[in-house]
Amino acid sequence: MSHRYFTVLLALGLSITAFAQLQNEETRVFKQTKYPVGLDNYQSILYYFNGNEALNIRHSVICSVRGEIQNMKVNPAAHSLAVVFPNKDKSSVEIYYMNKRDERLHHFPEKVIGKAQAICYTPDARKLMIASGNKLLTFELNKYTLVQEDLLSATPVSLCTSRNGYFLGGITEDGQAVIWNLETKAVRKVFNTPARVNAIAFSADNKQFGILTANGELKIYDTRQFEEQVSIGQLNQAITFAFHPDGKYVGVVTNPSTIEVINTLKTEERDPVTVLEGGISYIQFVYTETTNYMAFNTANSLSYKNVTSLTPYYTRLLEEELSQRFDEWQQRLPGETLEEYQLRVNDENRNRKSHEWEEEISTRLASDLVAMSSVTLGSYNAAQELLALNFSTMPTIFLPVPANEVSDFDDTGNLEFHNVKYGLTREDTFEMVYADIYNKKVGKTYTFDNRERRSLDYLHDEEGFVPLEYIQQASMEEVMLKEIKEKVVEAALQQNVITDHTQIAVNARVVNDYDADGKQIYNYEVSYKYDVEEEFSSRDDFPSGRFQVEQSAAAMSMLAIVKESLEGSLNQYLRPGKKLKVQVTGSADATPVRRVIPYQGVYGDFTNEPIYQNGELTSITVTKASGITTNEQLAFLRALGVKNYIQNNVAGIDQMKADFIENVEVSKDRGSAFRRISVVFTFVDAF
């Protein structure tokens, strides 16, 4: 069960409308011998520094340096951390392995760095940015070479990035907040705050940016236009804050002993967590497979407060499911003619479907809310003949009841609710939108129907739909892609390269997005993957321990389709200078690697190379000297084989700003069916 759905189920069980009482929730405390002065985290694990030492959660020293550490950042791919400390009138920046003591990976020369006030990794973990005065030095992390030097509009003392790679946020030395375009370093927005900025952060979904100021205010902005969405005041010393991963809550350290967890959609909902020993200066929300935590430091500990009982951001869950359903709905059905498709997929039907699915999904998310509620009778509006029914778990409804029948409603115990449907409010709470209410006393059913009044139209305004013409264009192109696929597969079958037990799939869709300037864009996503039936996969696909694409007939057939389609019908999207994201996934099964598999370095040597595994950024090492000893390495090399093929064989790719993302999957099962590859091309701003 995914972490997210576990959370939803748990939250539904624990608290539908009531705000959680976090103070009473369990806290896991890791006592420290030293005060954690500055912190950072990888997944749920915290690291900190004090004096000249960086330490892990069990106060084992990772490194001790020659000066007092002023700043520390954990590499997002987890293998190392960077520390900054003063060195005469300059600064030293050093990188250390996190799992070995005092094992230094690199020392940046002081004469290059100067006096560093802030450091920050790029979200893909491939570069480290060091701010020295208003200079921003960017080093790539393979050979630690300086790859870019920019002059910023102000001198930052603290830096952070959005995960989508669009923005660099900074607190400047005069206490203001600035957003720069991460790619160009051009100023995107300067915030003139009424007081000194104490903390800034981007939300995990990149949609929001928060600024906490010393006058006790947190302002949250959207990241498209950077317009204020939420303002939360009375935050006392306003020391620091963090977004909950869902984006619904923020945790604000209001004084060294108190964190307030605040619902950003209903800012009067504040749940304080008090810690007697004080010393809180850092906060972050983290999660494990089953539990959400709020992690923070205290005077003598690193602490994790269980916050699983916080209600999920239902509107976001609804949005995600709606989006998935629309993706499927927009696909052209097998055998569907163009006319039939245009008749089915049009604006009118889309709106109808949207309302229908919103109601269905909201009702499912709300579960049996009315059964968990106590119902009381409210007042009766004689003019409109409406009887108020109050619920302990949701807003009051007004049921049409003729004046001469009101007296039949003397006991709510007689009321039965059938066919109940729910909707979501702007505050992310559920409300009843439809019910057949049976009054047992008189045996009569009354219908409450408020479905027309409410809708999540505001979501559509914010997010925007993909224009139907683009969807239809993608759908037409998908037909052409499938024709190419059939042709290539047919040829491969005739040449006995693959068997008909290999199924190659090609799909295309349009995804709406916005760019770093806030402009609405439409990305074109084309995906290629294959499946080979288990008993034929060892023949058609990678043999055990093999990784070069040439060793898999299925992979080569799929790549032939990639080449032909990109150079053919999709060639119009391969425009020079345009952005292209290529996500290549290499998979391996769980068969043990009993001996070292030789690797001749055909794709190069890789040390601590950032990769994605199961959606999380991590790192991998595989070199000619190390050979292949793990399934992760095999999967990684399979992905590299695809990248290598595309770079060397598909014309036009080299003219684009192509960003390859290697994704590694290691199956929980054994068998040749789990050794495969897939690739997704995203043509950014394609239309």
Partner: protein, 229 residues
């Protein structure tokens, strides 16, 4: 042609059989803790034969999929000795030992601090030695403990903490269950139940005197001369 087809089917069947999951594979769930019994977060847990790995979460819990019974599982964590365990089904509980774990000095018990309800009761008027232990990255140190005087149950006047014959500025002291007691020498004063303040201004961890930990049934106080590595 027929022969070829038969050969192909036979080869496919053989390969399929070879690729079937081995018997005894399963989900390995476990907990890794330190020698004080607390879960260790961030431990790298590796299936030696496949290199598949997981990180323990903040409770020290981890899960690895498709592990064959009899596999060797390796546990790596900074500051702790790497340990290998052969998994024989069922949940795995592993305790890692600290590298350079503090070694306790020889001494004799001259007093005790015992939990009584919500407070600790100390031995009034005792001259007691401070048990002395060091975990230093610089190697061996010689520590000489000097007595301190218990003035009241919650007020201890330490005449002198200890002298150090050592090189380097970094040292930590631990009590028997591995919790931090404090750092640096000098005169020190314990005020109240939970705070120890040294005269040089260093803040001392208070867990030693906190009676909330059920493992701290009784903390013996020893006098003596100690050394540690």
């Amino acid at each position: 042609m027929k022969k070829k087809t038969l050969l192909f089917i036979a080869a496919s069947l053989l390969l399929t059989a070879l690729n079937f999951p081995l018997q005894g594979q399963g989900v390995l769930r476990g907990t890794v803790s330190g020698d004080n019994g607390e879960g260790l977060p961030g431990v790298t847990v590796i299936v030696s034969s496949t290199g598949n790995s997981a990180l323990s979460d903040i409770m020290g819990d981890f899960v690895l999929y498709n592990v064959a019974s009899g596999e060797t599982i390796r546990f790596e964590y900074l500051g702790y000795k790497t340990q290998e365990v052969v998994w024989d089904r069922g949940p795995l509980k592993v305790t890692l030992k600290q590298k350079n774990a503090p070694k306790w000095v020889v001494g004799h018990e001259v007093g005790a601090i015992r939990p009584t309800g919500s407070e600790w009761q100390t031995t009034l008027g005792s001259f007691v030695g401070y048990y002395n232990i060091n975990h230093s990255r610089f190697g061996a140190d010689l520590h000489i403990s000097f007595p301190f005087i218990v003035i009241s149950p919650n007020l201890v006047f330490r005449v002198a903490d200890r002298f150090f014959l050592r090189a380097g500025p970094t040292y930590n002291c631990y009590d028997k269950i591995g919790k931090g007691l404090g750092v640096n020498g000098g005169l020190s004063l314990m005020v109240g139940k939970y705070t120890i303040i040294t005269l040089d201004g260093q803040y001392y961890g208070s867990s030693y005197f906190a009676p909330t930990d059920p493992r701290q049934k009784c903390v013996a106080i020893k006098a003596g001369i100690g050394w540690a590595f």
